[in-house]
Symmetry: C2
Subunit: 178 residues, 2 copies
């Protein structure tokens, strides 16, 4: 139990530092300093920074598969797109801070590309564009899916509660995708 709390404290401190300095700009020593522990204590839990990043992004990434599966079961391309969109927005809103800090970090991108969830991410992109997308649709999906990550973590929107943010994102995204 104490071990689990220590792990969560460490991941929270790491996420704070990732937000402030970027993943590449955060060292294990900085995480140790923030927690007031020795670097050896951090090493004891996570021997490398990559493992800390994976511990932060792993849980939300693992929630993508059930979203894609539920969307795939719908009958029409537009129902599949809508299910994928709703699922992604729910996930982004539940993980506002993580979306903010990590989505556009080059090191995180490298780790995501090697993560088992990468296949699901591509599948969700395809569900959002639908079959045989034209350029206009591909641009719209790119703008919306990128924009969702940003809006989820926009500091001008932090006063907005999760439910309101979710509803407004859904309306805007649907309008943008037609």
């Amino acid at each position: 139990m104490a071990e689990k709390r220590a792990r969560e404290r460490l991941l929270t401190a790491a996420l704070d530092l990732f937000t402030e300095h970027g993943v590449s700009g955060t060292s294990l020593q900085m995480i140790a300093d923030r927690l007031g522990v020795t670097k050896a204590a951090v090493y004891h839990q996570f021997p490398a920074k990559d493992e800390i990043v994976l511990a932060v992004i792993g849980p939300p990434l693992e929630q993508l598969a059930p979203i894609a599966e539920a969307a795939q079961r719908r009958r029409t391309p537009s129902a599949r797109r809508n299910a994928a969109l709703t699922g992604i927005i729910d996930l982004v809103v539940k993980n506002r801070r993580i979306a903010a800090a990590l989505t556009f970090d080059p090191l995180v991108n490298q780790l995501v590309r090697k993560h088992p969830a990468i296949g699901v991410i591509e599948q969700l992109q395809d569900l959002l564009t639908g079959p045989d997308p034209d350029d206009a649709t591909r641009v719209a999906v790119s703008l919306v899916s990128g924009g969702l990550m940003i809006a989820g973590s926009d500091r001008r929107l932090t006063a907005l509660d999760d439910e309101a943010l979710r509803d407004h994102l859904l309306v805007t995204a649907r309008r943008a995708l037609r």
Copy 2:
């Protein structure tokens, strides 16, 4: 002239490395190695990494003021928003690589917040939301302005030429903002 070419080669190498490793993950030594020169040669041109980042983001940031001025001269809030949106999209498309690599980097954000252009950035945000925005509008502007930066540098869209990208972004953004 040789000095100017050397400066441009350095900034191109730096932007490549920023894209691959993030700004925080890029050192002056890495830039020197990429160029096949000594670290002293890099220091001679740019004594600190911040100055390299500023040399990359400065020119596009300085183009924001004329966009805001032209938009301010329009009569109605909707004409002002449209002018601001068009100007921002043109700028993003002209700087696809920079938008990609730098927009969401925490170190870059710190430098932008201290840059004289920060006032213009806030003014452009206000032009996009219009007077007395409700939450729905603020979320839509956040999604669109964040999404524009991403789409400008989305590697799935690199085959798209600038003009097509510009037109599709404009149509999607207008639709998302109503």
